[in-house]
Amino acid sequence: MIPAAFEYQRPSSLDEAVRLLADSGDDAKLLAGGHSLLPLMKLRLAAPSMLIDIGRLRDLSYISDAGDTVTIGALTRHHEVETSALLKAQVPLLAHATSQVGDPQVRHRGTIGGSIAHGDPASDLPAVCLALRATFTVVGPNGSRQIPADDFFRGFLETALSADEILTEISVPKVPDAGWSFQKFNRRAQDWAIVGVAAVHNGSTGVGLVNMASVPVRAAAVEDAIAAGSSAAEAATHASDGLDPPADLNASQEYRRHLAEVLVRRALQEAGAP
């Protein structure tokens, strides 16, 4: 319960953070809300030599109207996302899904950027970003670049971020009139999802899956089936096509596949797919 010793730096600007990160070598870690990183450190499953605490970079905490999209600073706490009037009106799926993350304590500390950058397949928000076709802005020593959610999640806890880059912004298309659903299946209210499904349905359909692979994934086969005119129930039978879901204490692979089908069906129906 006591982490290994580490150095600690608290930059006061994004530039300084980028510089520190570049100078500190591979063993440095950014610290945002700390709610994924610190538990790993306390169990000594992670032992970074340096923590660069970006948690107080207020410039990176915002929710803004940017025309067709809403942009969210990476350091925005879950609580702010969950209660944002702008998001509730324009991207209700994101606001609602965020309200299902952990418990109030977690939501007052954890950040949307940390959730995305950690790349945990069991996290709720990556699946939501995939369903919504979000775009991420990252900044490094060579400037900034944009990465679509689809290209971001690479492997277990592995993303397209390179070691010297910082995720700064999440941009989500407005979908005020779309049907949507977030199905989180867990055993206890504050648990992570055993399986989760995020769905939006308007002109096109987006379906993201929680905990159905070693990375956050889109249920592409389901989306294709809906596009090809399948009913929700038919499309849902493709929920785990091509996926190799994990097996753990809460669910075997077989049960996860079954849950994915049930939850995708419910999500599509709730989102208004026929």
Binding site: I2, Q190, Y255
Partner: protein
């Protein structure tokens, strides 16, 4: 919450050092070498000890299941479960101790483990104690006639009563402060325990200390639930190192350590129940395996003790055979958890009754009514030789059924089924009887009138959240008329209370409370005589007045304050106005009750949502209804948790997979329905208060009620049994296998022939009776 509590972890005397344990990552292995040099040289380290350095002989920290399985406080030669301490590091700060502990290098040679208790007793199993020649810690088989002879129907069930973790809010914690304190003690130990006097005796015995010069204090204790009885290995080590260093040493368990240190239940039950054509029970045969874990943890003995004692439950059963084996496994030594062996009996009886109701086509409530022991049959001695003091089981069942609206619930269930709804309703019933204050309970209680006219209670029980200060003060206030806020309450300190049995087995009010009651009575009689003399009145006319004095009935002017009476007593030369009593209860008492649980089951996902829980618990005469309700609520929550969420899981190699609260499924208030708790009151004739215990009842009734409700929700599909905890995946699998089998769950999910080892267990005359079989916790 005021933040004013003083738990062990809140103490930090001058010079306090911190202990951290190096623990085995293997379930079973030889310890080839322990390299401590780097750790000893690490910053802040005061000392590192292995078994050889410590030199404390193997011991039994609580009651003994098998003498040959004594445990060395640090693993000696072999490790026998994951988490067993192999070395201890003591350093100036906790962080230094944690860092240094990582530098201790242990060379292990893995041995094959025995994890499952049935496998552990099979031929060829890897032996934990080679000298024993098997992993049987204790066992006995019945020799009488087959109790199933003549039955027209026999219902058979194999069920697992899974191992669960105790999870008190505060784990183990100890602070040992060596050195003369000026009051005649050489060593003061602050420890989170249910039984400070028992702890002191164990510690003195294990470390060869002079018990008279050892002071043990249980400050605020954050829950016990059976997990804090006796001296743990780590306790002994911490005290030994503090004596060696001559410095205070503290150890406060982490949550993951706690999940591996306090575990209970863990039985496999093979139950066969015979019925006649009227659905009346003709006999029962039970074969039970208790998992004792490593070092023959005393919890393994519960199958031989309380589970056996309560095996007949609330039913008339003309013949019972009970065979039992306690197995050594390479897992955490088994201890007690709320109910300690009695919930296991109620669980298998109530599950098999529901299975029987299903197979005989009788309503579960009706089947129970046909078989309950009659209300006028008490005292009643069962086939197990247990004598129930008082009871009225049908009354509790009737009340629970009425409060639940059983008929309406059944009607709604049928309607949902008729509509083909995918959210099914399940109704589960359980009737239970349990035993409290077993083992010949005796307790110290004292009442002293203080010079200021208040009173001080001293008692040998050791409350840790049960509200003893309130209940016991009520008893004294009732008798003496001294207001509750003038009554002080002293417990849990061996320097201030001369002896005590502590708190466990729901014993405190009925034994400790009666001791206090008797002491208050004695004080009253003395006060009455003093007042009569002083006021020149007849003792028969002296009463406690409404304004908290003692005076002549109906003459307000002629009364004395308690302060004045205390002075009179001193003046009369007869010592302080006080009394000390050791109250003994002739036998155990048997609380009982009936629970009805209502759940919804999502037939597509297998998810279970508890909707309602009706509990009618009878704990004899009630002193404080709010405290009784509090015990019912906490008990129901923990019992429901076993039915639906909690399980301590080990993989085949003996690695614990549920060693954090993220993985171990302890629920929170968010998962619980609102509880409908009420009571019937059937006093016990065995003590003046008429009280039985209530601490464990809620847990005992709720687990089978909820478990039955889940299976009941699925019964129309042909599902007959689901193992606990009834997780979504287990429920889904039961539905699936039943559908695949054409609408009747395969027999293999309900019963299989018990393993062969039962037939080879010793007969009663050949089997010794382990001390721990009489455990009273």
């Amino acid at each position: 919450m005021t933040g004013a509590g003083t738990f062990v972890g809140n103490h930090s005397p001058e010079g306090m050092a911190h202990a951290v344990f190096v623990r085995s990552p293997l379930a079973h292995g030889e310890v080839r070498s322990v390299e401590t040099g780097d750790a000893r040289r690490a910053p802040g380290v005061l000392g590192v000890w292995t078994a050889d350095d410590l030199g404390v002989a193997p011991f039994h920290g609580f009651m003994v299941l098998n003498e040959a399985c004594a445990r060395p406080p640090l693993a000696a030669g072999k490790v026998r479960f994951v988490g067993e301490p192999v070395a201890v590091v003591v350093a100036e700060t906790r962080a230094q101790a944690v860092d240094a502990a990582e530098l201790v290098e242990v060379d292990y040679e893995p041995l094959p483990p025995a994890i499952d208790p049935e496998d552990a007793l099979a031929p060829g199993a890897s032996l934990q104690f080679e000298k024993l020649g098997s992993n049987l810690a204790a066992g006995v088989r019945s020799t009488g006639e087959d109790p199933l002879t003549g039955a027209s129907r026999v219902v058979r069930l194999r069920m697992v009563n899974q191992r669960i973790a105790v999870v008190p809010m505060e784990g183990n914690a100890i602070l040992a402060v060596p050195g003369a304190d000026g009051d005649g003690y050489d060593l003061t130990v602050y420890v989170s325990t249910q039984m400070p006097h028992g702890f002191a005796a164990a510690l003195a015995r294990i470390l060869g200390l002079d018990a008279a010069r050892l002071r043990v204090i249980a400050p605020h204790v954050g829950g016990g639930f059976g997990g804090k009885a006796g001296a743990a290995a780590e306790h002994v080590v911490v005290v030994a190192t503090s004596i060696a260093l001559g410095r205070p040493v503290a150890w406060v368990e982490t949550r993951s350590e706690n999940l591996l240190s306090m575990q209970g239940r863990g039985q496999v039950d093979y139950i066969e129940m015979g019925f006649d054509d009227d659905a009346k029970i003709t006999g029962m045969r039970a074969r039970v395996v208790g998992d004792a874990g490593a070092y023959a943890g005393f919890g393994g003995a519960l199958a031989l003790g309380p589970t056996r004692m309560m095996a007949q439950g609330v039913y008339r059963i003309p013949a019972v055979a009970y065979d039992v084996a306690a197995a050594l496994t390479n897992t955490t030594p088994m201890g007690a958890f709320r109910g300690a062996g009695r919930p296991e009996a109620a669980a298998f009886l109530e599950r098999v009754m529901d299975l029987a109701a299903d197979e005989l086509g009788v309503d579960p409530v009706d089947l129970r009514r046909r078989n309950l022991i009659d209300g006028d049959a008490f005292p009643y001695t069962t086939r197990m030789g247990t004598t129930y003091d008082s009871g009225d089981y049908a009354r509790a069942l009737d009340q629970a059924v009425r409060l639940a609206g059983y008929e309406e619930l059944r009607a709604e269930q049928s309607a949902r089924r008729a509509r083909g709804e995918r959210i099914a309703l399940g109704i589960g019933v359980a009737v239970y009887v349990e035993v409290t204050a077993g083992g010949g309970g005796k307790e110290f209680g004292a009442v002293t009138i203080d010079a200021d006219g208040g009173a001080t209670i001293r008692v040998g029980t050791s409350g840790h959240g049960q509200g003893h200060a309130t209940s016991f003060a009520m008893i004294v206030a009732d008798r003496l008329g001294i207001p509750m806020d003038r009554i002080r309450f002293v417990q849990s300190d061996t320097a201030l209370v001369p002896r005590g049995g502590g708190t466990g087995g729901s014993r405190s009010l009925q034994i400790g409370g009666n001791a206090v009651r008797a002491a208050a009575e004695e004080v009253w009689l003395r006060a009455r005589d003093l007042a009569a003399e002083e006021l020149e009145a007849d003792p028969g006319d002296i009463v406690a007045t409404d304004d908290g004095r003692v005076g002549v009935a109906g003459v307000p002017a002629r009364a004395l304050t308690w302060s004045a009476l205390a002075g009179l007593a001193e003046g009369a030369g007869a010592g302080p106005l006080a009394a000390e009593v050791d109250f003994a209860q002739a036998a155990a008492t048997f609380p009982f009750g009936a629970h009805v649980a209502v759940v919804e089951v999502d037939l597509d996902t297998g998810a279970v949502v508890p909707l309602r829980h009706v509990a009618v618990d009878d704990c004899g005469r009630i002193l404080n209804p709010m405290i009784v309700a509090g015990q019912q609520h906490g008990g129901i929550a923990q019992g429901m948790a076993q039915a639906l969420w909690e399980e301590m899981v080990y993989d085949a190699d003996g690695n614990p997979l549920t060693a954090t609260l993220a993985d171990y499924g302890m629920p929170s208030a968010a998962e619980m329905p609102s509880f409908e708790a009420s009571n019937t009151e059937t006093p016990t004739p065995l003590n003046p208060l008429g009280a039985k215990g209530i601490g464990e009842s809620g847990t005992i009734g709720s687990t089978p009620a909820v478990h039955n409700a889940v299976v009941d929700a699925l019964s129309h599909l042909g599902v007959r049994h689901v193992e606990m905890p009834c997780t979504p995946e287990r429920v889904w699998r039961a539905i699936k296998e039943t559908e695949a089998a054409g609408g009747r769950q395969p027999d293999t999910s309900v019963w299989r022939e018990p393993p062969a080892f039962f037939a080879e267990l010793p007969t009663p005359d050949a089997a010794g009776r382990p001390e721990a079989a009489d455990v009273d916790i």
